[in-house]
Symmetry: C2
DNA sequence: CTGGATGGTAAGCCAAACTGACGAACTCGT
DNA sequence: ACGAGTTCGTCAGTTTGGCTTACCATCCAG
């Protein structure tokens, strides 16, 4: 029946990638429709890792598994566009503290709403229970991977 | 307890992205260690979508959700590096048929082995049953998303 | 047999990551 | 208290991986 399929057939990697991209696309589309048209996919990773109380660029870079230069560029764009702001860190003259502006908080609320809606659709179609189980498994897996990450390659 | 966490906290998107990247990284690292050092992440998507019996570039581009030009570039690199080969399509003078070389098949076997090993680790740590459930859910979700994709934006 | 659709290629652009190098500021041992 | 080494952020340059626009060659339907 499936002679025409690839040999690397329903690879787990592909199964994970597809819903990830679906979420990103939906969140971004909704944000664009709400007047936040200058946000791009990579900007979402900044919001994902910025603690509510604020945080430093280097800290964000580590969490997002990227270099501080790359994160610095993203932060620059978000500051220019008015989503977050830089302040001097009173405890460390080298460091900056990043905080969301009101506009930044609005983005966060919108993103959460979009994700919630999408998850609700999926729960409706496939079962809330199964979605919850899958989510719980991925959450545990995330902890496992975090542990390994700190063992092995520190992200500079 | 978790006052220091982000507001977009354990977002489903991030939970999906992390294991996806872990798989890609592992597969690629193993390939590099086995003498296939010229492969880069994007090349894996070609292998993922190329049917065992061969296929056309345009067909691959559609499956991978990218333009035929982008896919063409990846294919070029893989042909140059000797992983796949181009042949004229006897039924259509415009078209080319792409097939894996022996070296290409070796990559495929190595990738499958890496993924298998990684999944085994995860099953060991978190439970084979839960992994299987999660995989099944993602598989169903993939079908759901495929259906929506063909409704809406056809990828040109 | 011709006019539009389709398969593939070419050229140029841009976003998003990387590496290497660096100055300013912190920390710690002496 | 001060010099050596480390860490924070930034600058400059490069690579990767995608996109758009434009084309030519070929197929196919009327």
């Amino acid at each position: 029946m499936d002679e025409e399929n690839s040999v690397l057939d329903p690879m787990l990697g592909a199964l994970l990638r597809q819903p990830f991209q679906a979420i990103t696309a939906r969140v971004l589309a909704d944000l664009h429709a709400c007047g936040y048209g200058d946000l791009r996919p990579s900007h979402l990773t900044v919001f994902q890792h910025l603690p509510a109380g604020g945080g430093r660029p280097t800290e964000l870079a580590e969490r997002a598994q990227m270099t501080k230069q790359s994160m610095g560029a993203l932060v620059d764009q978000l500051v220019t566009a008015g989503y977050i702001e830089r302040a001097a860190d009173p405890r460390d003259g080298r460091a900056r503290v990043l905080r969301r502006t009101e506009r930044g908080w609005a983005v966060e609320r919108s993103a959460r709403a979009s994700i919630g809606a999408l998850e609700a659709e999926w729960a409706m179609a496939l079962g809330a229970e199964r979605l919850a189980q899958c989510r719980a498994f991925l959450s545990d897996l995330s902890e496992l991977l975090d542990g390994e990450a700190s063992d092995a390659g520190p992200r500079r």
